[in-house]
């Protein structure tokens, strides 16, 4: 494969119940490209966290928001892009917190950064919202 191949593009509403369905899709995508179990677990948790952030912060727990997920296979990586249609985030305010400060919440960004090989916001879509990309290298294949 010389270039990227889109494996899947889907949209779902921002209701927390959809996250379980999402995880099924993510796990199957990871299995399809031969990620190890550890890699698959990482992808499932990280992308779930990203979508959870959208539900909690972008849509403030409103269940009627739309989340778009695209999964792309590059020659050496699996790429996930999640897009919302909420107000643009201030990227400078999206950061990990000090883990020594034990408190509920605020772990999502840290988990995503720890689990994925690359992650970050892409140029905001022309018609609004936010676009976040996460990449997992396929370096250890089953």
């Amino acid at each position: 494969m010389d270039c990227e191949q889109q494996l899947l593009a889907m949209s779902f509403c921002s209701h927390p119940s959809r996250l379980k369905l999402l995880r099924c899709v993510l796990r199957d995508a990871a299995d399809m490209v031969g990620l190890t179990e550890e890699g698959s677990d990482a992808v499932v948790l990280a992308v779930n966290e990203a979508c959870m952030n959208i539900i909690q912060h972008a849509y403030e727990m409103r269940p009627d928001g739309q989340i778009d997920l695209t999964i792309v296979q590059e020659p050496d990586a699996l790429v996930f892009r999640v897009r919302d249609y909420a107000d643009c985030v201030d990227i400078d305010k999206v950061c990990s917190r000090d883990l020594d400060d034990v408190r509920p919440g605020g772990l999502g960004v840290h988990l995503i950064g720890s689990l994925m090989d690359e992650c970050g916001f892409l140029e905001p879509p022309a018609d609004g919202g936010n676009l976040f990309q996460m990449k997992k290298f396929l370096k250890e294949q089953s």
């Binding site: 996250l19 677990d41 948790l45 779930n48 959870m52 408190r103 772990l107 840290h110 988990l111």
Partner: protein, 110 residues
């Protein structure tokens, strides 16, 4: 969704199971805090947890904080591999009191 609670040897044991995510972590939080309001010793059994995200972890942290503020005991038992990996990533594996089982905790004494 209500998570079952068993009372054993003076402990409330909250039995979380399956996948703990944003959909049901509020229920986990509620059960944990309700137990802490009634019992001095509460443990959460994570042996049947296949998946837990940061919202589930947050429920556990809230229990930990409530217990600490009210001089109660709160710990985790039977932490599954899935749950432990997330606790380690969040560097919480050294924060919670963790035992393999309630029996192990009881052997430790008061």
């Amino acid at each position: 969704m209500a998570f079952p609670v068993e009372n054993k040897e003076g402990f409330s044991v909250v039995m979380l199971n399956g996948e703990i995510d944003l959909g049901n972590s509020p229920d986990a939080r509620k059960v944990i805090l309700n137990c802490l309001k009634k019992m001095k010793h509460v443990v959460v059994d994570l042996s049947a947890v296949d998946y837990i995200d940061s919202s589930g972890i947050a429920s556990l942290v809230e229990g930990f904080q409530y217990a600490r503020s009210n001089n109660l005991e709160f710990g985790l038992i039977g932490v599954s591999e899935a749950a432990m990996s997330v606790l380690k990533l969040a560097r919480l594996d050294k924060v919670f009191e963790i035992h393999a089982s309630l029996d192990e905790r009881l052997k430790r004494g008061s």
